[in-house]
């Protein structure tokens, strides 16, 4: 005997929506070719996609030059892959000494492994934080050298993908606690703290990242006495951290506002102080809500790190540009490097986007 329901049984059994077309083909026909106008638009778009796809495939694969030197590429019509093969290591590691390039390679893998571990909620424990501190320290020592028989490598020779990843991950990672503190500060009841935090956030958000990088790289050294220089990579990294913090603060503030007032009152009622209230009750909920915008923010930051090229750091993209200026390849291989960069950036960003979706589903954020 089924569980009894209210109302007549027929009403429940009656379809709530018009009958869905059966089969995938029928569905496609209904969606894209339902009306004559739809059909025309669909055909037009389809033609565009086919044309663009065909041209891309021809350039990338069919007409591409796979072997030989600059001469072969000059004669060929399509993409010049030997260029990429020859310049791959330079594109990925930049000016880092050739024989030592395993070091940034290992450092990069370590960073990616830590990122992968951090992406699993099952591992979100205090030990993870310790792991990060150790991993970053190990990375720094690997890159800089000077101990355990590693040749010292000055930061002016750091470059390529490891630098891009480091700037983005460290910038966001260090900006995060600062951002949370700023978000709490902006909602503080103490006017001094509130004003200070608001001023900071608005000031940083009011200027583009590029001007902040310029300040750190060009203006700052002029204020220091001659001969006292702060490392160029460190300057850019600090600028990125400060910039990230302001944006993270606003995203977190959005999350804090999304928490029901009852939560604050309930926590206070059971006798929790401000910090206990925040750390144990409010922030865990608020941060959970803001995961999707936070990932979006990170994707943006990851791409923005390419701006450091303007202050003379050789991130992934500018290493590729430098490689193109080899006189034997100059003017012959132009798009290939950019195509490679696009693929690498896409893989990273797409992975993060998928992760965000997965996390959303797991925490059921969308249905809150």
């Amino acid at each position: 005997m089924p569980v009894s329901r209210f109302g007549p049984a027929e009403a429940l059994a009656a379809p709530l929506a018009p009958p869905a077309a059966r089969g995938r083909l029928a569905q496609i026909r209904a969606t894209y070719f339902g009306t004559p106008r739809n059909a025309v638009v669909s055909l037009f778009c389809l033609a565009l996609i086919v044309l663009a796809g065909q041209a891309t495939a021809e350039w990338l694969l069919l007409d591409a030059v796979w072997a030989g030197g600059p001469e072969a590429c000059k004669a060929g019509e399509g993409a010049c892959w030997p260029f990429l093969a020859e310049k791959l290591r330079f594109a990925v590691f930049g000016f880092f000494p050739y024989e030592q390039q395993w070091r940034p390679g290992v450092a990069m893998l370590l960073l990616l492994a830590m990122c992968a571990a951090t992406m699993l909620p099952a591992l979100w424990r205090r030990e993870l934080l310790l792991g990060w501190v150790l991993a970053l320290l190990a990375m720094y020592l690997l890159m800089a050298g000077g101990i355990l028989g590693l040749v010292p490598v000055p930061t002016s020779q750091w470059g390529g993908l490891p630098l891009t990843l480091m700037l983005a991950v460290v910038g966001f990672g260090a900006g995060f606690p600062l951002g949370v503190a700023l978000a709490l500060g902006r909602r503080s009841r103490l006017p001094a703290i509130r004003t200070l935090c608001t001023a900071y956030i608005e000031l940083i958000r009011g200027v583009p990242l590029i001007s902040l990088l310029f300040m750190a790289s060009v203006m700052l050294p002029l204020f220091l006495p001659e001969g006292w220089t702060i490392d160029k990579v460190l300057r850019a990294q600090v600028a990125i951290i400060l910039f990230a913090a302001a944006y993270i603060a606003e995203v977190v503030r959005g999350g804090l506002q999304g928490i029901d007032k009852g939560q604050y009152e309930a926590a206070t009622a059971v006798g929790l102080g401000y910090w206990q209230n925040m750390i144990l009750v409010i922030l865990p909920q608020a941060l959970r809500i803001v995961i999707p915008p936070m990932v979006t923010l990170f994707i943006g930051f990851f791409q923005d790190t390419t701006l450091v090229t303007i202050v003379g750091l050789f991130d992934f993209l500018s290493s590729i540009r430098a490689a193109q200026r080899d006189p034997s390849w100059q003017g012959i291989a132009v798009l290939e490097g950019y195509a490679f960069a696009a693929v690498v950036f896409f893989v990273f960003c797409w992975t993060m986007a998928r992760y965000s979706r997965w996390l959303e589903a797991r925490f059921d954020v969308g249905h809150k």
Binding site: K74, E86, K87, R89, F90, F93, G94, F95, F96, P97, Y98, P154, S156, Q157, S217, V218, P221, L222, L224, P225, E226, G227, W228, T229, I230, D231, K232, L234, T309, I310, V311, G312, F314, S318, R321, A322, A323, Q324, R325, D326, P327, S328, Q330, G331, I332, V334
Partner: protein, 344 residues
């Protein structure tokens, strides 16, 4: 609360201390600082064909990079003791002023304001560049004076654009400008015949011609429209260091004049009876000591990079993809501008 403040203050002080200690204050003459550091920090262009560009292994090649190696060979005894610092145009002077680099060898045009107001000193010119014009051979033009009414491909907002306009105006000639934003687009437009003339610095013209499908179809006309003397730069205030860089460059030029090459330098040092060669290579007088260096400084420079002519041929000359003529960059004895004061 009190302990918190103490902790924070201590932390800030420690960080500041680390930053300053790690970098070390550069006090006293540049040469001592370089010797202490063990490497010459040399600012170069990150990528400029023929002047400074990385090979597949990230090793810097090109004329500017070799100037760095030459100075390192003189000052530190080893041409490989160079730390190349790739610098963009907008941070190069600041990097030199703040002591981030000790020498700037980066296709920098020597001008009044840079020398006088920016607080820098220029060593002798290592490359006389200047704006030139390139045309297809099929046009049958022999001189830029025949270009009245020509269509010229230019990049907007550059000094190039201004120079060519001034040059045409002073001669009462007209031209039609065809403007492009991107260098690649601009170059291709010329090769596809959308304009008659391509104009930019001569070294750039040469590298543009190198990528044409048939380089022999194009000719760079003899006229030079603007002066762009490219020279190494050092900070104001350390005369000894300026002298070292100046006389290293002079030495490269004088070596070509005297016929000293990478191959025969050691032999000449032992056998030559020419008094100037003996002075240069440290067999008679010790000129090096007056620079604060040892006797063999210039011999080392030449065995490291060769003389000026060898450097030019290796990086820019015929046989390289750039295929540049010596032009003005030839010795004064051959009608060029390279003239090194005597070594005595």
């Amino acid at each position: 609360m009190g302990s918190w403040i103490r902790g924070a203050t201590g932390c800030v002080a420690a960080v500041a201390g680390m930053v300053l200690a790690a970098q070390g204050a550069v006090a006293g003459p540049t040469l001592d600082a370089i010797k202490a550091h063990g490497k010459l920090r040399c600012g170069v262009s990150p990528s400029s064909a023929g002047f400074a560009y990385p090979d597949d292994k990230g090793r810097m090649l090109g004329l500017d990079a070799e100037v760095c190696r030459a100075v390192a060979a003189a000052a530190l005894g080893d041409g490989d003791k160079v730390e190349f610092v790739p610098l963009t145009t907008n941070v190069r002077f600041q990097a030199l002023q703040s002591g981030e680099v000790d020498l700037l060898s980066r296709q920098t045009t020597e001008t009044f304001s840079r020398d006088v107001t920016l607080g820098m000193n220029f060593a002798p010119v290592v490359f006389y560049d200047g704006q030139g014009v390139m045309v297809p051979k099929s046009l049958g033009v022999k001189s830029a004076m025949d270009l009245d009414g020509a269509a010229i491909c230019i990049l907007p907002g550059t000094t190039t654009e201004q120079n060519i306009a001034d040059w045409f105006r002073t001669r009462g000639m007209t031209f039609e400008s065809v403007v492009f934003e991107q260098p690649d687009e601009w170059r291709n437009a010329f090769f596809q015949g959308r304009c008659d003339v391509l104009t930019t610095d001569r070294s750039d013209l040469a590298s543009s011609r190198a990528v044409a499908n048939n380089p022999a179809d194009y000719v760079i006309l003899p006229e030079t429209i603007s002066k762009e003397p490219l020279a190494p730069v050092v900070r104001h205030g350390d005369d000894q260091w300026l002298d070292i860089v100046t006389w290293t460059v002079n030495g490269l030029i004088a070596a070509e004049e005297k016929g000293i090459t990478r191959e025969n330098a050691a032999k000449l040092a032992a056998e030559s009876q020419d008094p100037e060669i003996q002075r240069m290579l440290g067999t008679s007088e010790d000129l090096g000591a007056q620079l604060g260096l040892d006797k063999d400084w210039l011999l080392r420079v030449i065995t490291t990079v060769g003389n000026y002519g060898e450097m030019f041929d290796r990086n820019l000359g015929p046989g390289t993809p750039l295929d540049l003529e010596r032009g003005q960059n030839t010795l004064w004895t051959d009608g060029g501008l390279l003239y090194a004061p005597p070594f005595r």
